[in-house]
């Protein structure tokens, strides 16, 4: 016979066998006891955004363990199926399709990143499976008419910018310069900074963008100084936000207050800046500053419980990102508890959820608002003595 076609057949056969084996083993786990309730999750556990996805995965796994240790949801064990999209929107779409078709989950949490969430939103719509994204872009849930099945638990950039502008207004600042990274995160921040400025009586005198791998930001900061701004806003994640702080300090520009986005909200950044970060201001979700909150704050209890459990289990500080996973998974669990594993009922339940106390705020969903947060769910924070402190108003 023809050798080539024979081995083509061989490869095909091998592929089929492998996939069959994979298929046989997957559902085998789910047999024991009461029918488990499934929740699908897609996080960027590896790849460029792993610093977001990793704590999300850890948090979700921790919560699943806790819930199952307490007897599950109405007696049904919680089966959490997590896929890694490797920070790649293409892989995210494949993972969500797999969750819907093969695993047949009634609700999905994630993806981690905005672009991946925007890519999978139409899939969730078409399959009519509720999806609770952990990413920030407001486009994920708007327009609501096209996003009936999509929710998100990360605050929108408009809230962060709103909080920041509120604070500037209180300090009498009207002329600012903004510098943003050319990533999805930076671009979305820039859009909101420019859009909301007039509403708060703020003029943007300098608007600079730079690459996420840039090694030198003195040029951008020099331009800020040239433009005689009263405050600088930097909006990026990763090393560039530390470079911005260092350059700001080295250029002796510390008489002009530097605001960072909530992306700066990790103590590692303060350490990396090596003392240069003193006085940097940023709006942060309360999950980052649990111990600083007054006991009367309604979120204090859930935040401290999560913070202590997470830090004990993984021996690393909590992050906003893990908080997103907490919020999305607990919302999914609350829905499963109330209405069972029926996608349509879960959707309706989520849309009508009010006063849900989470890590990132108190969620009040409605048919017009699939995010449920506001700028009041943020705190203005300042770097003081190498740590966070609530900023004085």
């Amino acid at each position: 016979m023809k050798a080539k076609s024979r081995w083509v057949a061989g490869v095909v056969g091998m592929a089929m066998a492998l996939s069959w084996a994979a298929g046989v083993f997957a559902p085998a786990r789910a047999q024991a006891g009461t029918e488990p309730y499934k929740v699908g999750a897609v996080f960027a556990i590896t790849g460029t955004a792993s610093f977001l996805g990793e704590p999300e995965k850890k948090t979700a796994e921790m919560i699943a363990e806790e819930i199952n240790a307490q007897g599950g949801i109405n007696g049904h064990p919680l089966q959490l199926i997590i896929y890694d999209d490797e920070s790649d929107a293409t892989k995210s779409t494949l993972a969500v399709k797999k969750l819907i078709k093969t695993d047949q989950v009634p609700v999905i949490i994630g993806p981690t990143q905005s672009d991946a969430s925007l890519a999978v939103a139409p899939i969730a719509e078409e399959a009519q499976v509720p999806l609770i994204s952990c990413a920030a872009s407001y486009k994920i849930v708007e327009p609501v008419s096209e996003r009936r099945w999509v929710f998100k638990v990360a605050g929108s950039d408009k809230h962060v910018v709103g909080k920041m502008y509120d604070y500037m207004k209180a300090k009498g600042i009207t002329k600012i310069g903004i510098m943003t990274a050319s990533t999805g995160f930076g671009a979305s921040g820039r859009e909101e900074l420019l859009r909301l400025a007039p509403e708060y009586g703020i003029t943007v005198l300098a608007d600079e963008r730079y690459g996420p791998k840039d090694t030198d930001l003195t040029a951008q900061l020099t331009k800020m100084r040239e433009a005689k701004v009263e405050a600088i806003v930097n909006w990026s994640v990763g090393p560039t936000q530390v470079l911005a702080v260092k350059a700001w300090r080295d250029l002796k520009m510390d008489n002009i207050p530097l605001y960072q986005s909530h992306g700066f909200g990790s103590r590692k950044n303060i350490e990396l800046a090596g003392g240069a970060a003193e006085g940097v201001l940023l709006p942060l979700a309360r999950v980052n500053v649990g111990p600083l909150l007054p006991d009367t704050q309604p979120q204090k209890k859930v935040i401290m419980a999560y913070t202590q459990a997470y830090e004990k289990k993984y021996n690393e500080p909590v992050s906003s990102f893990g908080g997103h996973a907490w919020d999305s998974l607990h919302l999914a669990v609350a829905a499963l508890k109330a209405v069972g594993p029926d996608p349509a009922k879960i959707r309706d339940f989520l849309e009508n959820t009010k006063g849900f106390v989470g890590q990132h705020g108190i969620f009040n969903f409605s048919p017009q608002d699939h995010n449920g947060l506001s700028k009041d769910d943020l705190e203005m924070v300042v770097v003081k003595n190498g740590d966070w402190a609530l900023a004085p108003w």
Partner: protein, 300 residues
């Protein structure tokens, strides 16, 4: 006060451009050393820079060595990686086509990047500046002492390499290998050893670049590719194999980038160096300082 600042903007851009340009020049030197001996372009050159920075962090922070010895140890370790690359990878592919050789060095660069990601994670790391003093103002320009270090180191390395290749026995022997490996072998030059040395030396120069910018720019696992690409731009622009050419071209690229960021658009500044690279490739592939005849003789 405002007047001084106004006059200082372009100076500030120039200083930033000089600093980053010196780094590109060091990366370009790495390409040139290997190219001079073997006529191979090593796509893993940028990864040597990344590794230099991260090993510096490893010896200084993790092992607790004093800064000086830690930096030397980092350079030595990366040089060793370069030697291993030649001995166990390049030598095996010696008779392969140019295409295979390119794929081999790309594969090696992916391995280095992946290895660094597993070893150090994805976070950036920083080293302390080589001298303790902080930034100072000079004519309204903020000067980081580390930038002066980078410039000085760049100049010293270029000078040393030129002297090495022009006057020392080993240097001349290495150049002979590139001109005609068979003839070199006949005159008793151990060609294999020379090729091995060139990879070690090139990796070491890359590592020097890595440790010297780490205090300014921080370093993380995926920095290598872009640094490597821009360094290659400097190497081509200066004429492959030309050390002074690399220095001048590196600084030209750095200045072009910095002024583009300052006066045109920050977002497109990476494109500036690349567009210059493409223009050089298309219109003057022998570079600004290379001779056309010499370029015609080369294998690639």
């Amino acid at each position: 006060m405002a007047d001084i600042f106004h006059g200082a903007a372009w100076l500030q851009y120039a200083l930033g451009g000089l600093t980053i340009g010196a780094i590109y020049a060091l990366v370009a030197l790495g390409y040139n050393i290997i190219y001079n001996v073997t006529e191979i372009i090593n796509f893993a050159q940028g990864e040597f820079v990344m590794l230099g920075g991260l090993f510096g962090v490893f010896y200084y922070q993790t092992c607790g060595l004093p800064l000086g010895p830690a930096l030397l140890a980092a350079v030595a370790t990366v040089a060793l990686v370069g030697l291993l690359l030649e001995r166990y990878v390049i030598r095996r592919a010696r008779h392969a086509t140019v295409l295979s050789m390119i794929i081999v060095t790309i594969a090696f660069s992916i391995l280095l990047k992946g290895g660094a990601m597993l070893a150090w994670g994805k976070d950036p790391y920083r080293l302390p500046p080589f001298s303790r003093s902080g930034a100072f103002l000079w004519h309204g320009v903020a000067v980081q002492p580390q930038a002066l270090w980078v410039l000085g180191i760049g100049a010293v390395v270029v000078g040393a390499l030129t002297v090495f290749f022009r006057t020392s026995f080993y240097g001349k022997a290495m150049l002979a290998c590139a001109d005609n490996a068979d003839a070199a072998r006949l005159t008793g030059i151990p060609v294999r050893t020379m090729v091995l040395l060139s990879f070690g030396l090139s990796a070491a120069v890359g590592a020097v670049a890595g440790v010297s910018i780490c205090p300014i720019t921080l370093m993380e696992y995926d920095r290598g590719a872009l640094l490597g690409l821009k360094g290659f731009g400097a190497a081509v622009l200066g004429g492959l194999g030309q050390f002074y050419g690399a220095l001048v071209a590196g600084i030209v690229l750095g200045l072009a980038e910095s002024f583009c960021a300052g006066y045109v658009s920050s977002g497109y500044k990476d494109a500036v160096a690349l567009v210059l690279l493409m223009l050089a490739l298309f219109f003057k592939p022998e570079g600004l300082f290379g001779s056309k005849e010499a370029a015609g003789l080369k294998r690639f």
